[in-house]
């Protein structure tokens, strides 16, 4: 199995977990998503965030190695790219990580910074989830169920 292919679907899975657990913590209106179990949502969100950051690091290092080796083969499954949806994913990922780190680190000490970054983190989630829906629509051919192989005529 190709490395970029695995990364893509790991990425999708982790982002889905992050989105669902994050929405549950967005406010009292949203709590029903995880039945107001904020403690679980918090643990799941932070653990998934660590995996998300690690995946980002792996993709960036992978790209650096590709650049150093002058590898110009097309990797259609890679989550980051120089243009289009890959660039959008890259920029949103960096903003998610930076704002998430600020929220995590300064939640108790700097309330102004936390409030501002939390606002960005939340609004960006809506944009990113909407963009994923668009991405799914554009790549909906992946959802086609495999056709049965024709049986050989006896």
């Amino acid at each position: 199995m190709k490395f970029d292919f695995i990364l893509h679907w790991l990425w999708a899975l982790v982002f889905s977990i992050l989105a669902l657990s994050g929405i549950a913590m967005a406010g009292a209106k949203y709590g029903w998503v995880m039945q107001y179990d904020i403690a679980t949502a918090d643990i799941v969100h932070r653990l998934a965030a660590v995996v998300y950051v690690l995946l980002t690091l792996i993709v960036i290092i992978y790209e650096i190695i590709r650049i150093l080796r002058r590898d110009r083969t097309k990797k259609p499954w890679l989550v980051f790219g120089p243009s289009g949806y890959g660039l959008f994913t890259f920029i949103t990922t960096l903003i998610f990580i930076i704002t998430g780190a600020v929220i995590w680190l300064f939640m108790d000490s700097n309330h102004a910074a936390t409030a501002f970054t939390m606002w960005i983190h939340e609004k960006l989630t809506y944009l990113a989830v909407a963009s994923v829906i668009w991405h799914i629509y554009m790549k909906s051919h992946a959802l086609k169920w495999p056709k049965k192989k024709e049986r050989k005529a006896r």
């Binding site: 199995m1 709590g31 107001y36 403690a39 918090d42 909407a130 994923v132």
Partner: protein
């Protein structure tokens, strides 16, 4: 081709559906009435529980405990050089290998 495997298509359907659920949940939550007093209370209770039992609470305890802070500080002193050496080693091995 992995895209032609049935179990894999099933996984894609599962992941995709979860995103539609997330999008639906956002829209429903955003445009519905409320929150009611009961929902606000449940949310606050959830937050309080998170402060006590989850990583949120643990991180607060770490901030208050000087011994744990010192331990974390000293661990980081070891961790960063080890991490740097590991990454450099990994990159070296990956670049040396002719695949």
């Amino acid at each position: 081709m992995w895209m032609q495997k049935k179990w894999f298509t099933l996984l894609i359907w599962f992941v995709t559906t979860s995103f539609f659920f997330a999008f639906g949940a956002i829209l429903i939550s955003m445009f519905r009435f409320g929150p009611t007093e009961q929902e606000a209370m449940s949310f606050m209770m959830g937050m309080m529980k998170a402060m006590e039992t989850s990583l949120m609470g643990l991180s607060m305890q770490v901030k208050e405990d000087a011994n744990v802070q010192r331990l974390v500080y000293e661990s980081v002193q070891f961790a960063f050089p080890l991490l740097a050496i590991s990454i450099a080693g990994g990159v070296y091995v990956r670049c040396r290998r002719k695949v």
